[in-house]
């Protein structure tokens, strides 16, 4: 009995310890980033262009570029992802074709992001002649996170009880009416959660945008979807590797801004989700 208790305790503490290691690293990175980056943050830093060969000034073009890319990615990936999930979960019959589609989606999520970058270069930039542009970059990032959105949306749709579908159809609703009026509102919180995770990932990706949109330095702000932009992840890479003697605090500041931007989208997603959930419960 005593020995059993001891073993029990041992495992208990071991698991706790391992979990704490993870937390320590995450917190460590965040705290380090804040301590190092916070001094660089100022109104000028987030509203001015870089100066002195990126050794001074701000990072506004990169912030704006990343924002554009996020918005573009949302526009392309969200509808396609949700519709694909709707097709797979609500419309498609379970046969070999849908199994192959699902398998492909899972496999796509395992493809390294640099491969997406090369595909985007070959397909969007060169073949479709979009050039290095917001359009090409957003489409590439959208492809990258589609599997995340489809899988999350499908999981969310699966949680909607079948009894709702039956009730709606039995009242004479078409499948589409059922989807729009009953199923999607129910699945929305889950879809938003999954999409936010995907979009956060897209915001921080470097490899897919290097070939498709990111500019080393851009004197003018973008004026159309065919413009190149600077973007935070790539800017960070440039500062760290291509600019000799770039002040450290600018690098840390850039990383912190990127983190805050992702945090902002996560919070926005949480707000939308909580509201949808509240409406679901309280009406």
């Amino acid at each position: 009995m005593k020995r059993k208790n001891l073993i029990q305790k041992f495992w208990n503490y071991l698991l706790l310890f391992i979990t704490l290691i993870v937390v320590v690293f995450v917190l460590g990175i965040i705290i380090y980033l804040i301590v190092k980056g916070l001094p660089a943050l100022s109104w000028e830093f987030i509203t001015q262009k870089p100066e002195a060969g990126m050794r001074g000034g701000g990072i506004f073009p990169a912030i704006l570029g990343t924002l554009y890319l996020i918005i573009g990615t949302i526009i392309f990936s969200l509808p396609v992802g949700i519709f694909a999930a709707l097709y797979l979960n609500e419309y498609a019959s379970k046969n070999r074709l849908t199994r192959i589609i699902r398998l492909s989606i899972v496999n796509v999520s395992g493809v390294p992001s640099v491969v997406f970058g090369l595909f985007g270069l070959g397909f969007f930039v060169i073949l479709l002649k979009f050039g290095k542009s917001i359009l090409a970059g957003s489409l590439t990032l959208a492809l990258l996170i589609l599997p995340v959105i489809i899988t999350a949306s499908e999981e969310a749709l699966k949680t909607v009880p079948d009894s709702y579908r039956q009730a709606s159809l039995a009242l004479g609703a078409t499948k589409w009416q059922t989807v729009i009026k009953v199923i999607l509102p129910q699945a929305l919180p889950g879809i938003v959660t999954g999409s936010v995770i995907g979009i956060g990932r897209a915001a921080g990706e470097t490899a897919p945008i290097i070939f498709t949109v990111a500019a080393f330095s851009q004197p003018n702000l973008p004026n159309s979807v065919f413009s190149q932009v600077m973007a935070l992840p790539y800017h960070l890479y440039v500062l760290a590797t291509q600019v000799p003697n770039a002040p450290e605090n600018i690098q840390w500041g850039t990383a912190l801004v990127l983190l805050l931007l992702v945090l902002f989208f996560t919070i926005a997603g949480t707000v939308i989700r909580t509201r949808a959930r509240l409406r679901k419960v309280n009406l």
């Binding site: 019959s93 379970k94 009880p161 009894s163 709702y164 039956q166 009730a167 709606s168 159809l169 039995a170 009242l171 004479g172 609703a173 078409t174 009416q177 009026k181 009953v182 129910q186 679901k280 419960v281 309280n282 009406l283």
Partner: protein, 259 residues
């Protein structure tokens, strides 16, 4: 009571894939009558009742043979509009399944699918349906609260009201009281009895007392051997079925010898 035939079933059979689960069912269902379908668990009662609003269409690889006519029209013909059919033939499920919406929106759901109504007209439909379902007095002050906050029995009456709101003529009920307490069951039964004035009702039940209490006609389905489809053993006036069954198997079932 009129003896108009509302639904005609002729040589009906049903397959799940290659397995035949129902066979050779022929019966006429009368208008403004409560028809009970009884039989042991797993004999295909629910499958049978879902024939009349083609809810079985949702099951992949299912197949219907024979003929099912509502108001003289074979509902399994290709050109039949399933949406129209389901408006006419409403359904109440075994477990209450209100939408996670307000009471008002639950009732208005059906009407909103099929037409654009003015606010007043819609309010009128909601009130009228809830009154017919004997639920109005209990919910009239909280129409805009979540329907899931109602008790099980109230939820089931709400589901009945939801069907009434689309002006159905036939109401299918698949063991509508099986998940309810005796008092709620009583209320549902009273309600069903009132509804037969204006509706044709088909009710599946495994509760024989319930069939005896509320129905005028009773159909007894039975699977006699494993791997064989269920057949219609007897279909007659409820009185006759329960007092003087014409078939030995019916007698065995209603006296509780099996099932």
């Amino acid at each position: 009571m009129s003896n108009n035939i509302k639904i005609k079933v002729k040589n009906y059979g049903f397959y799940y894939g290659k397995i035949k689960v129902l066979s050779d069912i022929t019966m006429d269902i009368e208008q403004n009558t409560i028809t009970a379908i009884i039989g042991p668990s797993g004999c295909g009662k629910s499958t049978f009742i879902r024939t009349f609003n083609r809810m079985n269409d949702l099951i992949a690889n299912s197949k219907v043979t024979g003929e099912v006519s509502v108001d003289g029209i074979n509902i399994y013909k290709n050109n039949v509009d399933v949406v129209e059919l389901r408006k006419k033939v409403g359904m109440v499920f075994q477990r209450p399944n209100p939408f996670p919406k307000t009471i008002y929106d639950n009732i208005a759901y059906g009407p909103r699918l099929h037409a654009r109504y003015s606010k007043q007209k819609l309010e009128h439909i909601v009130e009228d349906s809830l009154k017919k379902a004997a639920l109005w007095d209990e919910v009239k002050n909280k129409l805009h609260t979540n329907a899931l906050e109602l008790s099980g029995g109230q939820q089931q009456r709400l589901c009945i009201a939801r069907v009434l709101a689309v002006n159905s003529e036939i109401i299918l009920m698949d063991e509508p009281a099986s998940s309810l307490d005796p008092i709620s069951t009583q209320k549902i039964e009273d309600l069903i009895d009132e509804l037969k004035e204006n509706y044709t009702i088909i009710i599946v039940t495994h509760n024989m007392q319930q069939a005896a209490r509320i129905s005028q006609k009773t159909a007894f389905l039975l699977t006699e051997k494993i791997d064989e489809p269920a057949r219609l053993i007897e279909y007659d006036d409820t009185n006759k079925i329960f007092t003087n069954p014409g078939d030995k198997r019916t007698e065995n079932y209603i006296t509780g010898r099996f099932g």
